[in-house]
Amino acid sequence: MLSWVIPVAFALVTAAVAMNFWRLIRGPSLPDRILALDTLYVNTIALLVLLGIHLASALYFEAALLIALMGFVGTVALCKYLLRGDIIE
């Protein structure tokens, strides 16, 4: 079953990534773009995990873990900037 599920999943996630890029570039507001970037992080994690399953390798999961962690911090920092301007106060 994996043989056809994985390509389908790849196609769907890739489509999501493309739409993320669209929103990222189009905006129009800053929260739109921040949200697009955050969703891009989420979809990238999905891509990496799919790739790991496809290649039967756990090597990519660290990258996915780090994206999960770092992406969150990036989003928090950007949101804090919108909220207060001064992010470390």
């Binding site: 570039i25 891009l40 994206i67 911090v73 920092a77 106060e89």
Partner: protein, 936 residues
């Protein structure tokens, strides 16, 4: 064993000691300086008997034996003579300066500089390797700069010091070039080899440039015409400094080098004409100007210039006997000139001025000092029974015998006699103007004899002048013989040190000089009037200033031409020159752009990633005026780049890129807060078109280059590392093993730079408060809630998870993707998140606010890991590894490089936090942050 190295090193240790004890009290520094000098002397003296027996002692300390570089020290007669002069007169100067310096002057600083200078001088005279000699040569320039500018509040002191440094420093560069040529000719930089290779050097086609470059170094240092002008300006130094630098040391370094290289370079037409010519010109110019100086120290300064010219002339004449006379005059000049400077210092000290038109008739007030000064001045004039007479007589005799050998040779004795006349005249002036010639004119204070111990150094020197002058064979003969023997590197010629020889031409010249000098002084008034009228016409320092101003103007013009303060312009120049260089590389080459490697198939994921990258990059360019938007899109670019790293099997790079990405975003957000939120459009349409074209060409060129490289078979050194990583580095992750093991020394350097950058940023930001905007770009006020509760609680939960990830990445870094750098960034980001969500006050209540110890501990750990391999007789940073069996976990490979990696980790954590938190505090310093209690 290495006594000579210690002789040189002790003054340097002494400098630290002197500065260290300075706070205990004024006199401690003087005592420390004196004892240091005595210690150095005590180490030197046991070696002296062997030198007197004619041996040359060479001691070496292997430094970089692979490069043929050793620290080599040499003690022969010449070196011993100079070392004794430096240390002996140094001791007298230390005693004298203790009474000379006033309450306001810092004794610690003075004596510390003096010790630095003494060590450098000893290094020059005791070096066997000429490159090492040059290092000490430059150190004397630096130390003399500090000494001359000791009274930093005075503009003349600063200018004099700068001039001395510029002139002698430029000469030092020439000397370096000369030494390199000399080393290339001889095949060795060691004096033993150079001195033995005189024939080969003189016959070599490079002889003339080598000689001229070395002589430029010598002439600038020894204040030879036309570089003599810096010496009188150096008189702005405290008198003990002048007495030391201009009698026995600094300026004697030049003539020392003449003497040192005498067997290697002398005996040619070039040598006798350049050295003799410069010496003679200096002798005459110095002697003439000295007479017309009203400043006591100015007179002595030009007299020093003149006497240095005399010594240079003697070496220029080049006969063995002239060289002996040269060495003899070095000794004599050092003793009487040091004494005279000290006497001048006493007079200045007692009268409050050095102007000889005001200081008159001091005999009534200080007859004892007057007597001492008279004896020393008699030596300067060359009066019988004092040491100066003997060497001057030898000088006259050499001039006469040289004259008989050449056409127009009679000019030399004539010129020398004229210089002798002026020497007598200015010596008489020094005594008559100061001690007789009526009464003092309007002195700031009433002079009297100085303290007892201030006179002792002068007494010692004057007694030496007399002893040498009356009993030369008993006193100076042994040291003069070994020193001259070392200069010649050959058996000594027969010479007779006696007051009376016979009625010779030299005696006649002495008589003429004495009588003529008295006559010139008697008829001084019309001469002074003439000098007054022609003042400022002939001034060598004009040339210096013109040259220096020209240089500054050139540098300024060049800088302004290249850097108009516009970053765009600099980037344009940079990109254009890169394009130019790239195109030049392609011109004329007929290799095709595309290599012979077969292309790989394109897969859908890569294509999509590339398209996404291009789209995001293009969007970032188009939207770059909205700065926050551009930042968000750049974040996406970074994400895609790290995905590409994953695709091309570089997980370490991907992890690093991801961590750096978020740190960069935080850093830019911190800066963006203080900046305008949008960039105004400043460039015209035409200019944007031009820039776009240039960017296209540059980008296209880079792509073409990458295409050319990637389509060719490429043999890298990767195989070497892949093969050896596990057996030799004990790790399966080659990237990490390279970082912490194979190229660990690079990494150590890099983390040091990172630590320095962090501390540098901290130093610049400390106490800097900038006002931030009170509303956002749309004009809305900031939200009242600085730390929303949901965010704060969530991030607190995330902290342990993030730290666990960091530890995991750190530990497995040696074998699987990860390592200290990535783990450090992850930790830093996890902690920064607490600052973001909870605020500085909350975080600092739970976490130490001082990151410096973390950075320090990291560096110390990395360094200690490297040093530990020394304990096992392995080179620095050799790593070892082994297997450890842990219960439950199983077998684990542990490498010493992991301790090194932990050091890297700590430095990265500390430096990142230091930079980011202090950037954040820049605004916190200007407004009050709600405290934890207020927030509830």
């Amino acid at each position: 064993m290495l006594s000579l190295a210690w002789v040189v090193l002790i003054p340097y240790l002494g400098a630290a000691l002197v500065a260290g004890v300075a706070h205990l009290g004024r006199l401690y520094s003087a005592w420390a300086a004196g004892l240091t000098t005595l210690a150095s002397l005590a180490l030197l003296l046991p070696e002296a008997p062997a030198t007197f027996a004619g041996q040359t002692l060479v001691q070496r300390l292997p430094w970089l034996p692979q490069a043929g570089l050793d620290l080599a020290f040499r003690l022969d007669g010449l070196a011993l003579l100079f070392a004794l002069l430096i240390l002996g007169i140094g001791l007298l100067i230390i005693l004298y300066a203790r009474y000379y310096l006033s309450e306001r002057d810092s004794m610690g600083r003075f004596y510390a500089y003096l010790m630095l200078f003494m060590g450098a001088m000893l290094g020059i005279v005791l070096s066997e390797n000429v490159i090492q000699l040059l290092v000490f040569w430059e150190l004397t320039s630096l130390a003399s700069f500090l000494l001359i500018s000791y009274w930093q509040h005075r503009a003349d002191a600063r200018n004099g010091a700068r001039m001395a440094l510029a002139v002698t420093g430029a000469g030092g560069l020439c000397l370096l070039a000369g030494f390199v040529l000399l080393g290339e000719i001889v095949g060795s930089y060691e004096l033993s080899a150079i001195l033995a290779a005189g024939e080969a050097i003189r016959a070599h086609p490079w002889y003339a440039p080598t000689l001229i470059l070395i002589l430029l170094g010598v002439f600038t240092k020894s204040a030879q015409f036309p570089f003599h002008f810096w010496l009188p300006h150096a008189m702005a130094a405290p008198t003990p400094v002048s007495a030391y630098l201009h009698s026995a040391t600094m300026v004697k370094a030049g003539v020392f080098l003449l003497a040192r290289l005498f067997p290697a370079l002398s005996g040619t037409w070039e040598w006798s004409h350049i050295v003799g010519g410069a010496g003679l010109a200096t002798l005459l110019v110095g002697a003439t100007i000295a007479l017309f100086k009203h400043d006591l120290k100015g007179l002595l300064a030009y007299s020093t210039v003149s006497h240095l010219g005399l010594i240079t002339t003697l070496f220029g004449i080049g006969t063995p006997l002239a060289a002996v006379a040269g060495v003899f005059h070095i000794i004599n000049h050092a003793t009487f000139k040091a004494g005279l400077f000290m006497a001048a210092g006493i007079i200045d000290h007692e009268c409050g001025t050095r102007d000889m038109r005001r200081i008159n008739g001091l005999w009534k007030y200080m007859p004892y000092t007057g007597t001492l000064a008279m004896v020393a001045a008699a030596a300067m004039a060359g009066v019988p029974l004092v040491n100066g007479f003997l060497s001057k007589e030898m000088f006259f005799a050499e001039a006469v015998s040289f004259a008989t050998q050449m056409r127009f040779g009679w000019l030399l004795p004539l010129a020398v006699t004229v210089a002798g006349v002026f020497a007598v005249a200015y010596s008489v002036r020094f005594i008559h103007d100061v001690f007789f010639n009526g009464d003092p004119v309007d002195l700031p204070r009433t002079p009297h004899e100085p303290p007892r111990w201030m006179k002792v150094p002068v007494e010692v020197l004057v007694v030496l002048c007399l002893l040498v002058g009356i009993f030369p064979a008993l006193t100076v003969q042994p040291i003069l013989s070994v020193a001259a023997g070392a200069v010649l590197q050959a058996p000594l010629p027969a010479f007779d040190l006696a007051i009376w020889h016979s009625f010779s031409p030299a005696l006649g010249m002495s008589v003429v000089a004495l009588a003529g000098g008295l006559a010139v002084y008697a008829g001084r008034r019309p001469l002074f009037a003439l000098a007054e009228r022609s003042r400022g016409r002939l001034d060598a320092q004009r040339l210096y200033h013109a040259l220096l101003n020209g240089l500054f103007a050139l540098a300024g013009g060049l800088t302004r031409a290249l850097d108009a303060g516009s970053l765009q312009r600099l980037v344009l120049l940079f990109v254009l020159s890169a394009i130019g260089l790239g195109v030049v590389g392609f011109l004329g080459a007929d290799t095709p752009l595309r290599g012979e490697r077969a292309l790989l198939p394109v897969d859908g994921v890569s294509l999509l990633a590339a398209l996404g990258l291009i789209a995001a990059a293009a969007a970032a360019v188009l939207l770059h005026r909205q700065r926050l938007t551009a930042l968000i899109i750049t974040g996406a670019v970074g994400l895609v780049v790290s995905l590409i790293f994953v695709k091309f099997s570089a997980p370490d790079l991907a992890l690093t890129q991801l961590s750096v990405e978020v740190v960069t975003v935080i850093l830019l957000l911190l800066a963006l807060y203080f900046l305008p939120q949008t960039s105004p459009a400043e460039s015209s349409r035409a200019r944007r078109a031009r820039d776009g074209l240039i960017a296209l060409v540059a980008g296209g060129g880079t792509a073409a280059l990458a295409w050319a490289v990637l389509t060719r078979p490429y043999e890298s050194i990767a195989g070497f590392f892949l093969e050896r990583s596990l057996p030799e580095g004990g790790g399966r992750n080659v990237v990490n093993v390279i970082l912490v093991d194979f190229r660990g020394f690079d990494t150590l350097g890099e983390i040091t730079v990172l630590a320095l950058a962090g501390i540098g940023i901290y130093a610049m930001l400390e106490r800097l408060a900038l006002p931030g905007p009170t509303q956002d770009a749309q004009g809305r006020p900031w939200n009242w809630d600085a730390h929303p509760a949901i965010m704060a609680s969530l991030t607190r939960l995330l902290l342990p998870l993030a730290l666990l990830t960091a530890v995991f990445i750190l530990l497995r870094g040696h074998n699987l993707p990860g390592g200290g750098f990535i783990a450090g960034l992850v930790t830093a980001v996890a902690l920064i998140m607490q600052y973001l969500a909870n605020g500085v006050a909350w975080t600092h209540a739970r976490l130490p606010a001082n990151f410096h110890p973390v950075i320090g501990a990291g560096l110390a750990l990395a360094l200690a890991t490297g040093l530990a391999s020394w304990a096992f007789d392995h080179p620095f940073l050799t790593s070892t590894f082994g297997h450890v069996h842990w219960p439950v976990v199983g077998s684990i490979e542990l490498a010493s490089a992991m301790a090194f990696d932990l050091g890297v980790y700590l430095v990265v954590v500390g430096a990142t936090l230091l930079i980011l938190v202090h950037l954040g505090l820049m605004h916190g310093a200007s407004h009050s942050v709600p405290s934890e209690a207020e927030r509830g």
